[in-house]
């Protein structure tokens, strides 16, 4: 039985880049514990000799020739949604203090 503590949830939120409120931490403690306990029923399933599935239609190594493809979209059009720009570049907050 997994039971998340408040510290567990805060650590998990940090890994997810989520800044949770105290109310949220409390709420997710019980909700995520309940979900985890439900999915833990898989742990008793016998899967000896079975491989992992990662692709269901049998495709392997889908590649294309290494040449320029015109997507019909200009860089300017893609950058129109940028929240902040400077000199044609995306502008971000400082990384180190």
């Amino acid at each position: 039985m997994t039971k998340f503590s408040a510290a567990d949830i805060r650590k998990l939120a940090r890994l997810c880049r989520l800044r949770l409120t105290d109310d949220e931490v409390e709420r997710y403690q019980s909700e995520l514990s309940a979900i985890l306990n439900y999915v833990e029923q898989l742990q008793s399933v016998d899967v000896a000799g079975l491989d992992v599935t990662s692709q269901v239609t049998g495709l392997t190594n889908v590649v294309r020739t290494d040449e320029l493809v015109d997507y019909g979209v200009s860089p300017e059009a893609l950058l129109q949604n940028a929240p902040a720009m400077k000199d044609g570049q995306l502008k971000a907050k400082r990384m180190i203090g």
Partner: protein
């Protein structure tokens, strides 16, 4: 019923009996008349009218206008489209204007179809009721106090409300079939990879598919036929059939239908059971062979799904960081803070829940116990389906264990909400096609029967669905 079958509408447009502009105006009128249901998030009226006029002009000049000439349709708001923002019903994408359109939209437009509006959904398609939309829930067209199902609830409601002849949805674990069942329309989840997902907001890439919600099976088949096929921009697409998916053979002679034993338990609502048993009797009386089938691992499918899908969600949603597009946090103290504040403000509770579960099951020390285990149980499930399809051509069961539930009933209990998908998720994990077809009503609320076929047997599946539709019309 204000819309004829699509092929008849197209022939009316091309013969001059009506015009594309008239169909667009009719659709816009219906959007206005059904506003209370909140099926629609944005209307692309201006662009739709321009396209309609261009199509009408082409027809007047004797040019061919396509197999969907003048047909208005609704796109779930996780399809990138021109003419309105693409929000995925989330605050984090609320300001996002698509710089290009989804391949599915482009293919439909190339045949003369016209995007008229964007439909509501659970934010990022996370949900089974459309109550997780950042912009408020959609109401069920048959009872305003109930949910339309989800996550393509706006699309299902839009078709039931006669807003357009068809709507597009996405189905990661039942998100087309559940609203189809709850709203009383046809909902098709094609074989994994049959329709390109380029330009559609990704949820769980190993199970996401695109499909139509329609008023009848022929319309679903036609829309699939136009959308399907390989796309160089989506490496998971598969070759389509050389035959048309719209050419259906409704003969039931020699067809073997397997009844999924595991779906007929005490958890199945008695009235729903009775409707599904009536559907089985309909097939049997018409000459199909009915065989009982057991898929022992089916009970594990939901647990499997709620490990694999959150894992993929946590990865796919990491791109929403407030730097390149969408919501941003200009008030943040530094870069890391801008990630955290953007995501905290922009995601709904269910998005956060799935991101955290997914991150947990993928993290070092837990990966083998959860994610790897689930992907191995998935193999077991695939084997059981493969074995079943050695003996039968199709599988049959309910789409959902109940009719549409009340708004608010499950919002505080995520696990209970997840259980609405208990009969739909396995199909996504296995990659096979499935369809929900209306199978009557219980106290005025619709219920669907779910038909399932082997991978790439989409045309046969549609044929079976059409046979049922004809027998019950």
């Amino acid at each position: 019923m204000i819309w004829k079958p699509i092929t008849e509408l197209v022939s009316d447009v091309t013969s001059g009996k009506t015009t594309a502009l008239e169909l667009v105006e009719r659709s816009l009128g219906q959007i206005e008349a059904t506003k209370d249901y909140h099926a629609i998030l944005a209307v692309t009226a201006e662009r739709a009218k321009e396209r309609a006029i261009a199509i009408d002009t082409a027809i007047k000049n004797g040019e061919s206008a396509g197999r969907l000439a003048g047909i208005p349709f609704i796109a779930k708001d996780n399809f990138l489209t021109f003419g309105a923002p693409t929000t995925a019903a989330s605050n984090i994408l609320a300001p996002f204007n698509a710089p290009y359109q989804a391949t599915a939209i482009e293919k439909l437009e190339a045949e003369g179809a016209i995007v008229i509006a964007k439909a509501n959904l659970d934010a990022f398609a996370h949900g089974s009721s459309t109550e997780n939309s950042a912009f408020g829930p959609t109401l069920n067209p048959h009872d305003k106090t109930r949910v339309p199902g989800g996550s393509s609830g706006g699309s299902g409601a839009a078709v039931a409300l006669d807003i357009a002849p068809f709507a597009l949805g996405t189905d990661t674990g039942g998100s087309i079939r559940l609203p189809a069942s709850f709203c009383g329309v046809v909902g098709l989840k094609p074989t994994y990879g049959l329709v390109s997902r380029y330009g559609v907001v990704a949820m769980a890439s190993s199970t996401d598919v695109i499909g139509p919600l329609t008023r009848n099976v022929d319309d679903a088949a036609l829309v699939l036929d136009v959308m399907s096929g390989k796309d160089q921009f989506d490496g998971t697409t598969i070759e389509r059939s050389k035959e048309s998916y719209a050419k259906l053979d409704t003969s039931l002679k020699g067809k073997k239908i397997g009844i999924i034993k595991e779906y007929f338990t005490k958890d199945l609502n008695a009235d729903v059971r009775q409707k599904i048993e009536a559907a089985i009797a309909t097939f049997k009386d018409a000459g199909a062979e009915i065989i009982d089938v057991s898929l022992p691992s089916l009970d594990l499918a939901l647990a499997c799904y709620y490990i694999i899908v959150p894992a993929e969600v946590s990865s796919n949603l990491s791109r929403y960081d407030g730097q390149r597009y969408g919501l941003a946090a200009p008030d943040a103290e530094d870069l890391d803070g801008s990630y955290e504040l953007t995501r905290e403000r922009g995601f709904e509770s269910e998005n956060k829940r799935r991101i955290m579960i997914g991150t947990y099951v993928l993290s070092s020390g837990y990966y083998d116990a959860y994610y790897k285990k689930a992907q191995t149980v998935r193999t077991k499930l695939i084997q059981e389906f493969t074995d079943a399809f050695k003996d039968v051509d199709f599988l049959l069961g309910p789409t959902a264990p109940m009719t549409a539930f009340k708004l608010g009933k499950n919002v505080d209990d995520p696990l209970q909400m997840y259980l609405a998908d208990i009969m739909t998720v396995a199909v996504n994990l296995v990659g096979v096609p499935a369809i929900s077809v209306p199978a009557g009503t219980i106290d005025g609320l619709p219920i669907g029967v779910q038909l399932i076929a082997p991978q790439r047997a989409d045309q046969q599946l549609l044929s079976l669905a059409k046979a049922y539709e004809e027998l019950t019309r």
